[in-house]
């Protein structure tokens, strides 16, 4: 499974990467991007991701813009928003933009595992 992890915080990318590794994904099978612009470049260049995990608030291009950009090019790839934005309005906005699932920080590894399992099996 190829995963793209997008977050402006190095620590968060490493935490998510660690959980993903616990799921059995090898280090070489996931890429990291620090903002939406870098993520979109990687997405276009590699075009082989099975899941995108993205933060919302990031410089240059935020997560919501990234989701909309990816959705214009790819309608099926599962996207999970992992963010501190826990308001109902934000969740609805993200779902409308095209995310498949939503996780509010701080989260437990179990939650991410469950959501990823659900997306991969679904």
């Amino acid at each position: 499974m190829r995963i793209l992890i997008v977050d402006d915080s190095t620590t968060m990318r490493r935490i998510i990467g660690n959980v993903v590794q616990q799921l059995g994904v090898a280090k070489d099978d996931f890429d990291e991007a620090e903002d939406g612009v870098v993520a979109w470049e990687l997405f276009q260049k590699n075009n082989n991701y099975d899941v995108v995990l993205t933060d919302w608030n990031m410089p240059n291009m935020n997560g919501l813009e990234l989701v909309k950009t990816i959705r214009n090019a790819n309608k099926t790839i599962p996207i999970v928003m992992i963010t501190t934005e826990g308001g109902k309005g934000e969740v609805i906005t993200a779902l409308k933009a095209g995310v498949n699932n939503y996780i509010v920080k701080p989260f437990s590894a179990e939650v991410l595992k469950e959501k990823l399992d659900g997306l991969v099996k679904g």
Binding site: D7, S9, T10, T11, M12, R14, I15, N18, Q22, N57, T84, K105, P106, F107, S108, A109
Partner: protein
């Protein structure tokens, strides 16, 4: 522990401590507290064995000195601090946020190193365990064939104990790994706190724009002459008599 607004208000509206009786009723333990605070029976040599203790009296003196310095600075219009990069609030907050992120990454490096080492120990332990299992098989077979040679049986017991220790080590490593994963999860708060700092920075930036706007001077009068002494400012103002006397003096 912080107090709620209701508790603060209740405290402020509480019994009026004007009479001596009330004061005595409300402060029965002051003597006890003072007795506890007394350092007469305290063995100060204990302090010598504790690292990192600084003399409070020295700190107090320094604080008093700083306080005087600040007061003088305020009188001389040196305070608030000059608008330099190192004193700008948003710059300082940004520095804290970046430093926080950097240190969190370093902590993560340490935790990752421990995880990798644990994994390596786990692998070595597994190899040892496999070897010990083979030794058990060998010693069991030898014990059966040579029941009169007690050393085989004794060694079999020792190897089985070693296998138990190996299992215990493996289980301890697993518990340690799960605690490290827990610590890694908790490190999300570094990111959450950074975002809280960024929110404060954003508010300050907006406030800065607002204050600049509201204090903006559109009159075009950059150097308005201002009066240095206006009647009523202080007692140093000259009265009519003094004024006349001074004029007369100059007229001579």
């Amino acid at each position: 522990m912080s107090m709620s607004q209701a508790e603060i208000e209740a405290l402020m509206n509480g019994p009026d401590l004007t009479s001596e009786e009330d004061v005595e009723l409300d402060m029965p333990n002051i003597e006890d507290i003072e007795a506890n605070d007394s350092e007469e029976d305290f063995d100060e040599s204990i302090l010598d064995g504790i690292d990192g203790i600084t003399d409070n009296e020295e700190i107090q003196e320094k604080e008093d000195g700083n306080s005087k310095e600040k007061d003088e600075s305020i009188d001389k219009s040196k305070y608030p601090l000059p608008v330099e990069n190192e004193h700008k609030v948003v710059n300082q907050l940004n520095e804290v946020a970046e430093d926080n992120e950097q240190k969190a990454s370093q902590i993560f490096d340490v935790l990752s190193f421990i995880l990798d080492e644990n994994s390596s120990i786990q692998q070595d332990n597994q190899d040892i365990n496999e070897f010990l299992e083979k030794q058990v098989e060998l010693l069991e077979s030898l014990s059966e064939k040579f029941p009169n040679v007690s050393v085989f049986n004794e060694n079999l017991g020792l190897v089985k104990k070693a296998i138990e220790s190996s299992s215990s080590l493996s289980s301890k490593l697993n518990s340690e790994n799960s605690k490290i994963f827990e610590a890694m999860e908790l490190m999300q708060y570094h990111d959450i706190n950074r975002q809280k700092i960024e929110r404060v920075m954003s508010v300050i930036r907006k406030l800065n724009i607002y204050l600049n706007g509201i204090f903006e001077d559109d009159t075009g009068k950059e150097n308005i002459q201002i009066a240095k002494q206006i009647s009523g400012d202080s007692s140093d103002s000259m009265g009519d008599d003094d004024l006349e006397a001074l004029i007369s003096e100059f007229a001579k």
